[in-house]
């Protein structure tokens, strides 16, 4: 279904994307305009054209024309001091499709895409009662996935989700999070060396890999999602059976994509738990 629909130009672009040839279907003016709107945030509610040009590394005359357009369309307003602010018309740009969703619901299409793409299973979880509870679980086409569902709980000490949660904690905070029940202590004693090794990788790459510790032959990458205060609020993960999801793909593609998703969720995660 996919290829017959592609016009000739699009097909050329698709192959061009893999080479050095620029994407000729990419509308740079639109992209830059969106980048300008994206410069504004709660921390940066107003900017001048000069400041925007500096932030984006785009020539000032281009920024001026784009801002002029955004003002005429009502998406930006200018005050007497030439400071620009986003206007309420920005709320027309799809905002209400997402504004009522929980963080897990926001993450869902991205997690499902990962699961589908890599014949894997993905999820988003919170730490609760010394364990990780899955707020959302998405499965791809593979039949061989762990028997977990939305709402399932997994171990803090041995699961990738648990590791993702522990990864940013100090050793003292980790001990406190794990608690002192005998069961937790025993499983942590067994898992800790592998966790500490995985943490090395986390420091380097920004995602933590649980290779067969939670379940033999099952490898998973996880990334913590921080709230506005910098604390881990959620953990997202994606994993699969080793023959379907080789370590090279997990490290080379899945981990970086999870990291991108975590960064994207971070700006919006703190509002709705």
């Amino acid at each position: 279904m996919r290829s017959p629909d592609l016009p000739k130009q699009a097909r050329r672009t698709k192959s061009a994307q893999h080479g050095a040839v620029p994407d000729r279907q990419f509308v740079a003016a639109l992209a830059r305009g969106l980048e300008i709107l994206g410069c504004f945030s709660e921390a940066r509610p107003s900017l001048t054209v000069t400041e925007i040009a500096h932030l984006l590394g785009i020539p000032q005359p281009s920024v001026w024309r784009l801002c002029h357009t955004l003002i005429k369309l009502g998406y930006l307003t200018a005050d007497a001091g030439d400071r620009l602010r986003p206007a309420l018309a920005v709320l027309r740009l799809g905002y209400m499709v997402l504004s009522d969703l929980t963080t897990a619901e926001l993450a869902k299409p991205y997690l499902q895409d990962l699961a589908d793409r890599y014949f894997a299973a993905s999820g988003i979880a919170v730490c609760e009662d010394r364990g990780m509870r899955l707020l959302m679980r998405c499965e791809g086409g593979s039949e061989l996935v762990l028997n977990l569902q939305t709402g399932s709980r997994v171990s803090l000490a041995t699961s990738s989700l648990g590791w993702g949660y522990l990864a940013d904690l100090s050793p003292e905070e980790r001990e406190a999070a794990l608690g002192d029940s005998d069961v937790a202590r025993r499983s942590w004693k067994a898992a800790e060396p592998a966790f500490l090794e995985a943490c090395e990788g986390y420091r380097q790459h920004g995602f933590i890999i649980n290779a067969g510790v939670f379940h033999p032959g099952y490898n998973t990458a996880a990334v913590p999602v921080r709230d506005g205060d910098g604390r881990t609020a959620f953990v997202i993960n994606c994993g699969g059976e080793a023959s379907l999801l080789p370590m090279s793909v997990l490290e080379g593609e899945v981990g970086p994509r999870l990291k991108d998703l975590a960064r994207m969720l971070e700006g919006v995660a703190e509002r709705k738990p």
Binding site: L30, F40, E42, P86, R257
Partner: protein, 305 residues
């Protein structure tokens, strides 16, 4: 996260039949013309105007709570843009993460649109400042309380607080309503000096086919406002929904926001609105006006000399 977007199909699978039903469906479910910023002739002579940007944003603005997922062909129909143009714009929006793939070759907005909206709302500090008190008003009277600002011929809610267990309108932060039929719109219009109000009516009301029907109730509400300082919208916005509204003025002396309090006509009779709701509403509006002045003064101190 996606690498490419599927281009819209050049023609529908069953051209004749599909067109017929689509047209019928469009006629039935889209009584109101889509707001479009594209067909403004003023832009055509503006050599500094970046059309590609305007068109791309027009595509994003097609998505809303009732239209969360849209296919390329439908986007072309909604915007009136040629399909190859729509395809290129969607490709760009997808690469930027503003659109993501959805079921059945459709597209839906991605997380970055949420960040844009939050940044815009952050420029309205009054909305957050007012929340707790609006919620208290809603809770104590079993109402819905809204704070809205004007965007052209529309009002946009920047805050909306609902009480539990009541029959409520589906109004949320970001909801856009007509300036001339909604209570918030009336609350704003009421606060303008008459000449400016008539100018706004000439621009936004006269072209609207609903206006002749609405006008008598609107005029009555404006008289009510002159005498009492608030307006009631009794069943005009929706036949079984009653609202009280008051303007909140900016430093320029013009109404910047309207504060509303509303409920179903079964619980919120005009008498209940006047006796119970309005005193609370006007008190809160006075407080919010003081808050607004403080924000305005902090944002740009008055110039000396």
């Amino acid at each position: 996260m996606t690498d490419s977007v599927k281009p819209p199909r050049k023609r529908p699978a069953k051209a004749g039949a599909a067109n017929g039903t689509r047209a019928a469906r469009a006629a039935a479910s889209v009584p109101e013309r889509r707001e479009s910023l594209l067909d403004d002739e003023a832009h055509q002579n503006d050599r500094q105007f970046v059309t590609a940007l305007a068109r791309g944003l027009e595509i994003l603005s097609c998505f809303g709570p009732r239209k969360a997922e849209i296919g390329g062909t439908q986007l072309a129909a909604m915007t009136g843009l040629p399909q190859p143009t729509v395809w290129r714009l969607c490709h760009t929006l997808s690469k930027m993460g503003y659109l993501i793939p959805a079921e059945g070759d459709k597209l839906r907005p991605g997380i970055p649109v949420l960040k844009l909206g939050r940044a815009a709302l952050a420029c309205v500090p009054l909305a957050e400042k007012a929340r707790a008190r609006m919620q208290a008003l809603a809770d104590s009277t079993g109402s819905a309380s809204g704070l809205a600002a004007r965007d052209g011929g529309r009002i946009v809610f920047v805050q909306q607080c609902l009480s539990e267990a009541q029959l409520v309108m589906n109004l949320r932060v970001g909801t856009r309503l007509s300036l001339i039929t909604s209570a918030a719109g009336w609350g704003l219009l009421a606060g303008f000096p008459e000449a400016e109000r008539e100018k706004l009516i000439a621009t936004h009301a006269l072209p609207d086919p609903r206006w002749p029907q609405v006008e008598p109730a609107f005029r009555e509400a404006m008289q009510d406002f002159a005498a009492r300082g608030y307006i009631l919208n009794i069943g005009v916005f929706h036949k079984s929904y009653n609202t009280a509204a008051v303007p909140i003025y900016g430093r320029d002396g013009l109404p910047a926001y309207a504060l509303t309090c509303a409920g179903s006509s079964a619980t919120h009779s005009p008498a209940f609105l006047r006796k119970v709701i309005v005193p609370e509403l006007m008190k809160l509006a006075g407080e919010l006006q003081a808050d607004l002045r403080a924000f305005e003064a902090a944002a740009s101190p008055p110039r000396r000399g």
